[in-house]
């Protein structure tokens, strides 16, 4: 997929036409919904039903905001594209929106937001569209002012599409330099398509981090499963070697035609596909069994 970041600055790329297309695409809506849900999950608020005010950076036409409203949060959004905001306003969204360039900071009073979400926006900061724009400086301004307008201990979850490992690192280090603690959460790390980067940041105190270990589960458990399956692999191979071979197997072994795709191999492949987020049928006693020879 081509990157919109390389075609034009955001305020020009998301023009009236593009804003309308973006907001009416069911695919975009679905993706935005899912990403917003995951971002809120990563914010990991205690379940006390207190009303919370969130900042939505790069709110666009308010698709992510809609989901936030449904989940019971009030929100204020900012975006640079006038057309996107206009679409948002026409759709009568619940939150308030302002037009602003996040590379210039956050024009809010200090310490008012209980959290911040941003869906597919922060990578735009790495562009320089004017002579005076310097990505590092823009990142620094954004993060330092974001820090200021968040409550102490509040979290910010920023989902973004980095250009590569270097860009992800550039953004993460810029955030950590201004005093945030936290790091990058990668969902579905083994898949190129489903892979999603979430920068999870805590303003100020560190005790918020301990709670985030539970949320990392999605990433870690899939890794752990993959690891386990590799180990299972090795064990089954050992038991196979210890067994007495049947005549046919012996013949095969002699002629050097070992079947390359044993059950263990299939299980491993299925696990890999699961890690990529694909839907794979369950493992059972029939997995990898040979079909009956039929004439």
């Amino acid at each position: 997929m081509s990157r919109p970041e390389i075609s034009a600055p955001p305020q020009e790329f998301y023009n009236d036409n593009e804003a309308h297309k973006y907001t009416s695409s069911s695919r975009v809506i679905e993706i935005q919904d899912r990403l917003t849900e995951r971002a809120v999950e990563l914010l990991n608020f205690p379940k006390d039903d207190l009303p919370r005010l969130l900042l939505d950076v790069g709110c666009g036409s308010g698709l992510s905001g809609d989901r936030l409203t449904e989940l019971g949060y009030s929100w204020i959004g900012m975006d640079i594209s006038k057309s996107m905001l206009q679409v948002a306003q026409d759709r009568t969204i619940e939150g308030g929106v302002i037009q602003y360039d996040m590379g210039h900071g956050c024009p809010f009073r200090p310490g008012i937001f209980d959290g911040c979400v941003s869906i597919s926006a922060v990578q735009w900061l790495c562009n320089a569209d004017h002579l005076q724009q310097e990505p590092r400086k823009r990142l620094n301004t954004f993060f330092s002012q974001l820090y200021r307008c968040l409550k102490r201990g509040a979290k910010a979850v920023l989902q973004f599409y980095p250009d590569g490992a270097k860009q992800a690192e550039l953004i993460t280090t810029a955030a950590l330099r201004v005093g945030f603690s936290g790091g990058l959460v990668v969902d579905y790390p083994n898949s190129t398509r489903a892979k999603k980067y979430f920068l999870v940041l805590v303003a100020g105190c560190l005790d918020g981090i301990s709670t985030s270990s539970t949320i990392l589960a999605r990433f870690e458990s899939s890794e752990a499963d993959a690891f386990k399956s590799v180990r299972v692999d090795r064990r089954s191979k050992a038991s196979y070697e210890g067994k007495k071979l049947s005549m046919g197997q012996r013949l095969k072994a002699h002629s050097g035609h070992k079947h390359p795709k044993g059950k263990a191999w299939i299980l491993k492949k299925k696990q890999q596909a699961r890690c990529r987020g694909q839907e794979i049928s369950q493992d059972s006693k029939y997995t990898g069994r040979k079909r009956k020879d039929r004439l």
């Binding site: 009303p51 900012m78 308030g96 302002i98 210039h104």
Partner: protein, 123 residues
């Protein structure tokens, strides 16, 4: 733009000290009914800057707000509904915001405040 949004905004033009509260100059204003949510309203009222809220409401011609922040535990529903109306239902459609420190104007068009800065105004 609702007064709630206004109460959270602060201009960060180069040279502004706090940039708060922004003065409002209204050309067109509108009212849209929104659902009354008591828990949310109480939490919001604790958060907002009352003086800025009252000044803004004055400039929009919304009457009958007390001088000083009310004691929220003693407020009855009719009072809260009045605050709800001022905070959530009155919208500035056209006008501009003025930074109190530098006098920089931020236009509001079709209900969206444009807080964009020029590159030389960024601090």
């Amino acid at each position: 733009m609702r007064l709630l949004t206004h109460n959270l905004l602060a201009s960060n033009v180069k040279g502004a000290k706090t940039g708060f509260p922004l003065k409002i100059h209204v050309f067109v204003q509108e009212e849209h009914e929104t659902a009354f949510n008591k828990a949310f309203l109480l939490a919001t009222l604790r958060k907002i800057n009352w003086i800025a809220f009252r000044e803004a409401a004055d400039s929009l011609g919304v009457p009958n707000l007390p001088e000083l922040p009310p004691d929220l535990d003693k407020c009855d529903d009719s009072m809260l509904r009045k605050y709800h109306h001022a905070l959530m239902e009155v919208h500035v459609k056209e006008g501009y915001l003025i930074c109190p420190d530098t006098g920089r104007r931020f236009p509001i068009t079709k209900g969206i405040p444009n807080m964009l800065l020029n590159e030389d105004e960024v601090c």
